[in-house]
């Protein structure tokens, strides 16, 4: 685990609002441009400016992109946390720091690289505010020298990040060069280095929220109703930008409507109204918003209205840690609302899947005529991930079972909630359909097949059993789990942003202990039959997830017959930081070697 060429993790400790985000993006991009696999994670506080923030960049020649617990280099810009930050480092770790902080007075076992940031930026700009921003680009230059990052790639990256603003580019290049020059006097830290390789060709770097927005864009979303909440706001905002850029006609007429609702109850209400009227409608929120949507989500499921709801999960309960990541809305979202209610869940595990589920969610919602919840999280949604380029959706949109005027003329009428196809899904009409028999009455109270009001027990029960069949049938339509490995005695089940840590952990288990572990990543609930089969094929199945209560394990226990359920071992844990491989490895071994 000693740092090595193209295998290290570096962290910039600073305060938010100080503008270090651009510098960190430049670092990330420069590595990426050199063909080195990278990932970037921002650990920021729930306030706007002035509090400690840490940005971590991991370079991994093997392509691992999970959080790595150990740091191999620290850039200490924040006096407030510097002592604590430094105390946590392993011996030998190099520390680039703001010279006036005088950190080298502390531990003697670290590599000290003082940089007089203020002095270096002083000649570059007269404006103090600007100088404060430029300080950050100085450490980019310094690192570039220490890590042997290629300076032209750094400058290219600066060009990308300050896209189209030549003055800003020039200033920042100058700052980076100043940092580079200053580092000329330093001895490079041993082991740590970046070397050009070829593992990122053709790839992109993106966060999951932007990916989801792009997915929705190509999914043909027409109505977005939202209410801001971290960490989902950037999904809605990316989608708004996408729509403005790519969904206006030649005369500027938009093919969409966006409403910033007054709250989440209103947002989901608008989405249901729009879905009912035939639009592809969506909202994006996080835990507190999901809780507020409970009553209307139940209406959507019971009245059978397509809707897409993104839950970019953060740490709960309640307001919790709004800027930390967690996977703890699984159980409450699956059964969101009172009564016997169940909602299909999509569980993207990568930015690619944020894109594909971003459009497929609409197909599924319209096919199933029900709200579909897509559970992403802060780590996936707001951090920077390498990915394959997005693939254009080749399949035509599935608009589900809709009867038009011609159909009604042929049929003479229809029964909205009759199970004519045996899949539990009825045919619907859209308001405005020009046929005297097109109308039906949508309600959240008891109704018969023709959507007539009914309090009859048999009618109610029949309808509820059909809804159960429909949800059951969804298993076959939802994205299948992804299985890796075969034939091992031990299996791991996980979902969502736990994927990179689990994949890396498998490699650790194999390399360090010779322990082969098969892996199934579930991508939806209700679970596909393959989930059962996977459990059946393994003696012990570890369920890895980022929450306290083992919610995925719980959903599995609810569905699996007892002997299989007995094979599950929950490895649930969350402290708000993205999962790392070592934690998984240790947890598996603690069981396996107990």
């Amino acid at each position: 685990m000693a740092p090595a060429v193209n295998d290290f993790s570096l962290q910039v400790a600073t305060v938010n609002g100080s503008g270090s985000q651009s510098s960190n993006s430049v670092l990330l991009r420069a590595l990426f441009q050199m063909g080195i696999p990278v990932s970037g994670k921002n650990l920021f506080p729930s306030n706007i400016a002035g509090l400690p923030t840490w940005y971590t960049i991991r370079a991994s020649r093997d392509g691992w992109v999970a959080r790595k617990k150990e740091l191999d280099l620290l850039v200490a810009m924040n006096g407030e946390t510097a002592a604590e930050d430094v105390a946590a480092l392993r011996p030998g770790t190099p520390v680039v720091y703001d010279a006036p902080l005088g950190l080298d007075q502390g531990r003697a076992d670290l590599g000290w690289y003082p940089v007089p940031f203020d002095a270096l930026v002083a000649p570059l700009a007269p404006d103090a505010k600007l100088r404060k921003l430029l300080r950050n680009m100085v450490y980019v230059g310094t690192l570039s020298r220490l890590l042997e990052l290629e300076l032209p790639e750094v400058e290219l990256a600066i060009g990308r990040v300050f896209d189209g603003k030549p003055k800003a580019v020039a200033l920042n290049v100058a700052a980076a060069r100043a940092g580079f020059e200053h580092a000329g006097a330093f001895t490079r830290p041993p082991g740590l280095a970046a070397r050009r390789m070829d593992a990122t060709r053709g790839k992109i770097i993106v966060d999951g929220n932007a990916a989801a927005a792009h997915g929705a864009l190509f999914g043909g979303v027409t109505v977005l109703a939202w209410y801001p909440i971290t960490p989902s706001s950037s999904l809605a905002e990316a989608l708004i930008a996408d729509l403005a850029a790519h969904r206006r006609g030649p005369d500027g007429t938009p093919s969409y409507a966006v409403v910033q609702a007054e709250d989440e109850l209103s947002a989901i209400g608008m989405v249901l109204g729009a879905g009912w009227a035939g639009a592809r409608a969506m909202t994006a929120t996080s835990g507190p918003g999901i809780s507020l949507m409970g009553e209307l989500a139940g209406l959507g499921a019971y009245a059978e209205i397509p809707a897409v709801v993104w839950d970019v999960q953060r740490v709960g309960p309640s307001t919790g840690l709004p800027t930390r990541t967690q996977q703890a809305d699984l159980l409450s979202t699956a059964f969101l609302s009172h009564g016997d209610t169940g909602h299909p869940l999509l569980l993207p595990g990568s930015v690619e899947e944020c894109f594909t589920f971003g459009h497929q969610a609409f197909d599924l919602a319209e096919r199933l005529q029900t709200p579909v919840f897509v559970l992403s999280d802060l780590d996936l949604g707001m951090n920077q991930w390498m990915a394959e380029p997005f693939r254009y959706p080749e399949a035509p949109m599935d608009r589900g079972k809709v009867l038009g005027r011609a159909d009604l003329e042929r049929l003479g009428g229809f029964a909205r909630y009759a199970d004519v196809d045996g899949d539990g899904i009825g045919w619907r009409t859209l308001p405005g359909t020009d046929h005297p028999r097109a109308a039906y009455f949508t309600r959240g109270s008891g109704h018969d097949e023709r959507a007539g009001y009914s309090e009859k027990g048999e009618v109610y029960e029949k309808n509820m059993l059909r809804l159960a069949r429909k949800l059951d049938g969804a298993r076959a339509l939802l994205p299948e789990p992804v299985a890796t490995g075969a034939g091992a005695e031990v299996g791991v089940v996980a979902f969502g942003s736990s994927d990179p840590a689990v994949r890396e952990s498998r490699a650790q288990l194999a390399a360090e202990r010779g322990l082969a572990v098969d892996y199934l990543r579930v991508r939806a609930w209700p679970f596909a039959a393959a989930v059962r089969d996977f459990v059946a094929a393994h003696q012990r199945v570890y369920v890895v997830e980022q929450n306290r209560d083992g919610q995925l394990a719980g959903l599995l226990r609810l569905e699996l017959a007892a002997p299989l359920a007995g094979r599950l071992r929950s490895l649930a844990r969350s402290d708000g930081l993205p999962l790392d491989a070592r934690t998984v490895t240790d947890a598996v071994l603690a069981h396996e070697e107990a």
Binding site: G202, I204, I205, V206, H214, F218, G220, V221, T222, V223, A225, H246, G249, G252, T253, P254, S255, Y256, A257, V259, E262, D263, L265, S266, A267, I268, G269, M270, V271, L272, G273, A274, G275, W276, A277, G278, A279, R280, L296, L299, P389, F390, Y392, P393, M397, T429, L430, P431, G432, D434, H435, P436, A438, A439, Y440, F441, T442, R443, G444, Y453
Partner: protein
Amino acid sequence: MASTSTAPAAPAEPRVNRLGLPILEYRGGKTTLCAGCGHNAISERILEAYFDLGIPPEQVAKFSGIGCSSKSPAYFLGRSHAFNGVHGRMPAVATGALLANRTLHGVGVSGDGDTASIGMGQFVHLMRRNLPLVYVIEDNGVYGLTKGQFSATADPGSVLKGGAVADLPAIDTCALAIQLGAGFVARSFSGDKKQLSALLHAAIAHGGTALLDVISPCVTFNDHQGSTKSFAYVKAHDEPLQELSFVPALEEITLDHEPGTTAEVTLHDGSRLRLRKLEAGYDPRQRAAAVARLMGAQAAGEVLTGLLFVDPLAPTLVDRLGLPPEPLATLPPERVRPPRAVLDAINASLR
């Protein structure tokens, strides 16, 4: 000629509207509300208005929340799609639906509990947005469906059957709406057929949100002595601001009108609402004055009815969003899924 007029009458053809539809085609299911409930009269006026205006029922979408009032969309316009949602959330649902399909004529029915208690937040924000929607509050000062608790429109001093006395200020949804920027605000009474009818016609012809607060007595829980929402009380305290008549877009003006006492409002679709002023000096285009007059009426225990405020030109949400003329819901795929080149460009920008 004389012969035809004296010949035995042929079996009367049912009266039809300009679409050739008899009024039967605008009716709904049999009401399950109490006999005599004000809400039933309002249902009648609503369906007649759509019939009169010759709007195809398929082009109407009905919305409601929860309550006796919110059930009523089942009792009119059976040929129209309806969305009976949850308590207090009609505005959001209607907003989504009418953005998805702007060609629909939206009509929302709510109760005073549904709007002024649980639904207050959505009500306020709908008024601000000016969504094209006829919004009818069937206002009885009480929760009918849950058996007679006070709602927030109950006037202080009003007495419940069980003896409880309302002691909080009553919320005046009309005054609120005017203050919040709504474009069409009126108050009427389920028992005033002529006024309610004219206002409904005008509301339908209006382009943005048209709020109609209709006092609609609950005969079961709030029609007794001591109630200020009873038939008797409203009849005794009704202060109509105008005598109203509606002139459809296609009709010529035939009446002369005395200047100064009669005014006309030209509505979005070219039709006009004619107002013979009963209260001198009341000008329904003055927002602040209208609010002040309503506050005065409330303090005086008057039930001020008629067209309280109108601004036919206030921009609607549909205007503000610049929506295309056809429904978003059914735009063809090529208008909602950008071409491959767009994705290529996005990918390139992320490399």
